[in-house]
Each structure stands twice: as C-alpha cells, then as structure tokens.
C-alpha cells in the first residue's frame, strides 16, 4: 500500500508555510537562508509528488534545476553574508538597510 499523494502535498504546504513564516519573523540572515532552502525544497517535494501522480517525468527533471539554482544561490548569498560579517560583524538583516532609497 502506498501513501496517498495528497499527504505529500499537505506536508509540502506545511514546510513552505514554515519557511515563509521563518523568513518573515527571524532576523538572523543565516536562519533566513535556511528558511529559503526549506521553501525551495517544499516546492521540490510538490514537483516530485505531482510527477508521481501525473506520471510525468518532467516534474522530477525540474527538481534538478531547482537544486542547482538553490546551490548557486546559497554560494552567492553566503559569500555576501561572509563579506558583510567581515565588515560590520553582524548577521542581523534589519541592521543592513543602507540601500534604502
């Protein structure tokens, strides 16, 4: 017997909501990054689930693209975080508002 697809979708939705909420409420940049990863992977889970349910390999193929993009994004993002930390010794997002218009 197999677990129905809707369970996976509900799980993915929960994960996405947790990620989004975390992104909004946490101030630490590193934690925000982790939340973004959580959201991305929730989306990945949705892709895979629909791929199984609809019997279409396209969804699973797309996951790989998302993984690669996520990895690249983390590299760039962590690089920025490191550079900011060296300069200002902080990882709090709200302290970094020099780019306001």
């Amino acid at each position: 017997m197999s677990v129905p697809g809707s369970y996976f979708l509900v799980l993915a939705a929960l994960l996405f909501a947790i990620g989004a909420l975390g992104l909004l409420v946490r101030r630490n940049v590193l934690v925000m990054f982790m939340c973004i990863e959580l959201m991305l992977n929730a989306a990945n889970l949705t892709f895979v689930t629909f791929s199984r349910m609809l019997n279409d390999i396209g969804g699973q193929a797309l996951v790989f693209f998302v993984l690669v993009v996520a990895a690249a994004e983390v590299v760039v993002g962590l690089g920025i975080v490191v550079a900011i930390f060296r300069r200002r010794a902080t990882t709090t997002a709200d302290d970094l508002h020099m780019l306001k218009g």
Partner: protein
C-alpha cells in the same frame, strides 16, 4: 565633329578638379594660366562644334546622350547635351568672353593670397554656365542654374573678410534661391502635364498642357529668370554683387549668370509663344526694369554700380525683346552686350587697378592722360552701349526697339526714353572718369590702405596702365564691340550669321515686316536720341563733378528698394527669429525638455519611499503579493 561637344563643360570642370587638388602647388600665376587654358580649350571645342553644326543643312539639332542620370520608372532623366543653334550661340560667346576674362584675371588678381581659389571658382562658374546652356532637359539645366548661383555666391563673397562682401554674397544667393522656387514649381507642372522634362519632349506634348498651366509655367519660369537676370523687383542683388573682384563682375554681367534667364525664356519659346498674356507681362516687366535701372544708374557714384545698373537696364531690353517675340533680337543684344559690357567692366577694373582700388567716380577724372589704352577701349564700350552707330549696341538695341515699336508702341516709347538715359549716364561716367580735373591726386597722395592690393607697390603716385594680360582682352573686346553689329545686319540678306537661329523659334518668331523707310526712320530716331544723351551729359559732367540737384537721394538709394525690403521682409523676419529665440526656444522647447526631466524626478521622489532597505519588508511584500494572487485565483476557481 559634334561628338566632342561634351568636352565643352568637361574642360573647365577638369580645370576645377585639378585646381581643387593642386591649386596651391601651382600657385601664382600658373593656376591662372591653367584656368584660362581650360576655358580657351572649351572655346576651341565650341568653335569646332559650331563648324560641325554649320555643315549640317537641314536638321541643325543634335542631342548627345552621356548617360541615364535618374532612371526611376516612368521618370527618366538623361544627362544629355542639346546642341542646336541657340545653345551653340550661347556656348560660343560664353566660352569666348569667359576666356578673355580669365586672361584678364591673371593680371588683375596677381598677388591675392587666394589666387588659385579664384580660378577654381571661375572655372566651376563657366562649367556650370555651359551645363545650363547645353542641358537637354529642364533638370539638367537646373543643375547648371544652381551651380551658377552657388559660384556667384562664392565669387561675390570672395573677399569675405569684408562684411559688405560677405553680406552681398548672401544677398545674391538668397535672391536667387527665392527665384529658383519658381523654376522648381514650373518643372513639377511641366512633368505633371507632359510626363517628361526633355525640351523636345515637352514641345511635342504642348497640347496636353492646359492654357492655365501654360501661363503658370511661363510666369514661374519668368520669376526664376527675373531672379537670375536681375529683373524688377529682384534686381538689388546685382548692384551689391559689385563687392566681388571686378573680373567676377564682368563674368557675371557679360558672359554668365545674368544671361541665363534670357536664355531660359528663349529656350521655352514654344510655351511662351502660346501664352500672349505672359508675353505681355515679360515685355512690360522688362521695359519697366530697363527704365528704373537706367534712372538709378544716372545718380550712382561708384563706377561699378553705374555699370551694374546699366546691366540691369540692358537685361530689361532683352526681356522686352523676348516678350515681343523677337527672340533673335534678344540673343543679338545679349551677344553684343556681352562684348561691350565685359569691355566696360574690364576697363573699369583697369581704372580701379590703376588708382589702387578707388571706385568713386568723383575721385577720378582726366585719366585719359595717364591710361590711354584703357581710355580708348573704354570709349568703344561707352559708345557701343550708348547706341551710337555703327557700334554693336546701336544695331542690337535698334533691333529690339523696332520690334517693340511694331507690337507694343507704348513699351517702345519707354524703351526709347531709356535709350536716351543710357547714353546720358554712360557719358556721365566717362566724363567723370576720363575727362575733367585730376581729382585722383587727393586720393593717391594719401598712403594707400587698400584692402586688396594686387601686389602693386604704392610708391608711384600717378595712375598706371595695366599689364598686357589685362590690356589684350580690352583690345579684343573693343574690336568686337565695334564690329559686333555685323552679326545681324538688318539690311543685307546675304550676310546674316544670326539668322541660323530662326529654325529654333520657327513661327513663334515675331517679324515686324517694316518697310525700309520706317526702319531708316526708327534707326535715325535711335541715333538722335543717343546723341542727345551724349550731348547733354558730356558738357554737364566734364565741367563740374558735383551736381547734387541731378543726383537725388531717391535715385542714389535706388528708390529705397533695399529699405523697403528691409522694412517689409528683413525686419519682420528678424522679429520672428527673435521671437523664436526668446519665446519658442526658452519657453516651449526648453520647457518641454525640462518638464520631462521634472516629471521623472517627481515620480522618482515619490516612489523612492517604497525602498526602505529592510530586506524582510521586501519579503513581506512578496508574500502578501503571492497570497493576494492565490486568493484571486482561488476565488475564480470557486465561482
């Protein structure tokens, strides 16, 4: 022999090209000799072509196709030369007189820092005039027409360091451009009615031009001719054109430029012949111009200005002849005028040269003692233009007046008065310059501060005779002025060189058919009138040079025509320009540009508040946007 015709415009054009590239290296005087040689070569080619044309007995019209210039569907314009008696007559005297003026310029322009450039323009001028004359269609003629205009601008403004010369050049150019509009619109009308611009093609389709269009074409082309040939009311530029070097004045007035308008009217004679009202307009404007210009010439002080207005006056006679339908008389006067007017201008140039650039008649006097050759040749020119028999001017002017007498007696009367005035003002000029007291001593004793010293040392304090390159053209032109009347002797059927023009005009040629008694009478009247003019002027102006009562300001200022144009056209134009500069430019154009900038800045200033710099606010915005989008889609899915 006819196939070398293309060399006629090509030789001066080649001279122009060589001078443009290597003019400075050739320098003084070789650049001048090169320019003279090309025009003289062009004259030789013209003679050969003339001989070739004479050998033909029946159809003396030859078209030389060079190449198809503008092939656009039904609009085909060929670069082609039309060789017929009319264009050949023009080409002969244009190249001949131009060659003499070139030769004269070698001496006159000696020492000028821009010496090679002068001959460059001169060559291009002659080449343009030949294109104008030889062109086989209206558009090709127009190319020469414009070339002549632009060269006249360059040459009149040759000493552009002087403000007066620069503005005289601009004036000539603007008057000509104004008239050219008529030429362009006439071309459009012609093409619209006939579908071709070629002269023979147009004349073959005359019936497809409506009478109104015919009149419009004639009058528009006459407007163009009035600008180029300085007819009322477009003549003031020709007087100002005296700012150019004297050989340029001679070239413009005698051989090239001003004769172009008369030529154009003769060329389109089949259209003109069908529009009698236009003919009357042409004749009236012509004789009115002749009279007005002659009265102005009576009161001018500058030797060149007198000659300038006399040219305007003589051109008026030519248009009188054209309007009468006596095209051959017009051409006859044009050729004769080319001889004696070139002579008069070159003689005046010799005087000016000898007096170190003094042009004021009141500061000359008694020059016959010091410049005998110039005086003798000038006297030929003077008597010729005054209409004293048996010089060229008598026959040519008589021809015009005889025809006018037969067709428009009223205009003839005005023409006859003008003839008396012509004799009067030319005698006044000669008396002031060559007779009387040595008034020039006051000028020459002063240290010379001439703007354009031609390399003449100002040590000698007496007028001096000019070098042989300047004297030779004077002698040749004096001889031509003497015998030029033989071109069209009215009373000998056996010797009539100008009669070969008759086929060009055919039945359009007005023939007075006057009895020989009437011709004798009219001839004697002409001669008597001329002698009266002479007899009045010579004693009057030899004795005393200052007679203010005979030089009213209204004539000296040429009927205030310049002031009228200044007040009615120039001043409002300047006011409009000032309005545009101060109001339109600063308020409207700058206002629009600055307004766009201000709008961008305002919008940016408002929207910049959204960018707070807090990353989490942006994220909240994205999330709220996504939720709103989802809610919208869900709501749509449910309903």
């Amino acid at each position: 022999m006819l196939h070398a015709a293309y060399l006629m415009p090509l030789l001066p054009l080649a001279g122009f090209a060589v001078l443009a590239v290597a003019g400075r290296r050739l320098g003084d005087p070789w650049a001048g000799w090169l320019g003279t040689a090309t025009v003289a070569g062009s004259f030789v080619v013209a003679c050969i072509t003339y001989a070739g044309l004479l050998q033909r007995t029946a159809d003396r019209s030859f078209t030389q196709n060079l190449y198809t210039w503008i092939p656009v569907g039904g609009f085909q314009v060929k670069a082609a030369l039309l060789i017929d008696p009319l264009s050949m007559t023009m080409a002969l005297f244009v190249t001949g007189v131009s060659a003499l003026i070139h030769l004269y310029s070698i001496g006159y322009m000696r020492g000028d820092p821009e010496y090679p450039k002068f001959f460059l323009y001169l060559n291009l001028f002659v080449a343009s005039m030949l294109l104008l004359v030889l062109g086989d269609n209206l558009l090709f003629t127009f190319v020469g027409w414009e070339g002549v205009g632009v060269c006249s601008y360059w040459l009149i403004a040759f000493w552009y360091g002087r403000d007066s010369a620069a503005s005289a050049g601009k004036k000539a150019f603007i008057y000509n451009r104004l008239a050219d509009v008529g030429f362009l619109i006439a071309m459009f009308l012609v093409f619209d009615s006939t579908g071709t611009l070629q002269y023979h093609g147009i004349f073959a389709h005359l019936s497809s031009i409506s009478p109104q269009a015919r009149a419009a074409i004639c009058l528009l082309l006459f407007a163009a001719a009035a600008g180029k040939s300085a007819q009322f009311p477009l003549f003031p530029w020709l007087a100002d054109a005296m700012e150019g070097p004297t050989p340029v004045s001679a070239l413009i007035h005698a051989a090239t430029m001003v004769t172009a308008g008369v030529y154009l009217m003769c060329r389109i004679n089949p259209i003109l012949g069908l529009s009698h009202n236009s003919q009357l307009v042409v004749a009236s404007v012509g004789v009115a111009t002749a009279f007005i210009a002659a009265t102005i010439a009576c009161a001018q002080q500058d030797i060149k200005k007198v000659l300038a207005y006399s040219t305007v006056s003589q051109l008026g006679y030519m248009f009188l002849a054209v309007g009468t339908g006596a095209y051959m008389a017009a051409i006859f006067l044009m050729v004769a005028h080319a001889f004696f007017k070139a002579l008069l201008f070159l003689g005046a140039g010799s005087v000016i040269h000898g007096l170190h650039d003094e042009q004021d008649l009141k500061k000359m006097g008694n020059l016959r003692k010091w410049m005998p050759l110039t005086t003798v040749t000038f006297v030929f020119g003077w008597l010729a233009i005054a209409g004293i028999p048996p010089l060229a001017g008598f026959w040519a002017k008589g021809d015009v007046l005889d025809n006018a007498y037969a067709r428009f007696p009223g205009l003839w009367a005005l023409g006859l008065i003008t003839a008396a005035l012509t004799a009067y003002y030319m005698s006044r000029l000669s008396a002031l310059a060559f007779w009387g007291d040595d008034r020039w001593r006051a000028v020459l004793d002063k240290p010379s501060g001439g703007h354009d010293s031609h390399g003449v040392s100002s040590n000698d304090n007496v007028p001096h005779e000019s070098p042989w390159v300047m004297a030779l053209p004077l002698v040749i032109l004096a001889a031509l002025s003497l015998v030029g009347g033989a071109l069209n002797f009215p009373w000998h059927a056996s010797w009539t060189p100008l009669k070969w023009l008759a086929p060009v005009f055919g039945s359009r040629l007005f023939d007075a058919h006057q009895s020989s008694g009437l011709q004798w009478t009219l001839g004697i009247v002409d001669a008597v009138v001329a002698v009266i003019g002479l007899a009045v002027a010579i004693p009057l102006w030899t004795k005393r040079p200052d007679r203010p009562e005979l030089e009213p300001a209204v004539l000296q200022r040429s009927y205030y025509l310049d002031d009228i144009y200044d007040a009615t056209i120039s001043k409002p134009g300047q006011a409009l320009a000032r309005f545009n500069a101060t109001v339109v430019e600063t308020k409207v154009i700058d206002g629009a540009v600055n307004g766009v900038a201000r709008l961008a800045r305002g919008v940016g200033g408002g929207v910049r508040r959204v960018q707070t710099g807090f990353v989490r606010q942006y994220a909240l915005g994205i999330v709220l946007g996504a939720v709103a989008l989802l809610a919208y889609m869900a709501a749509r899915a449910v309903s």
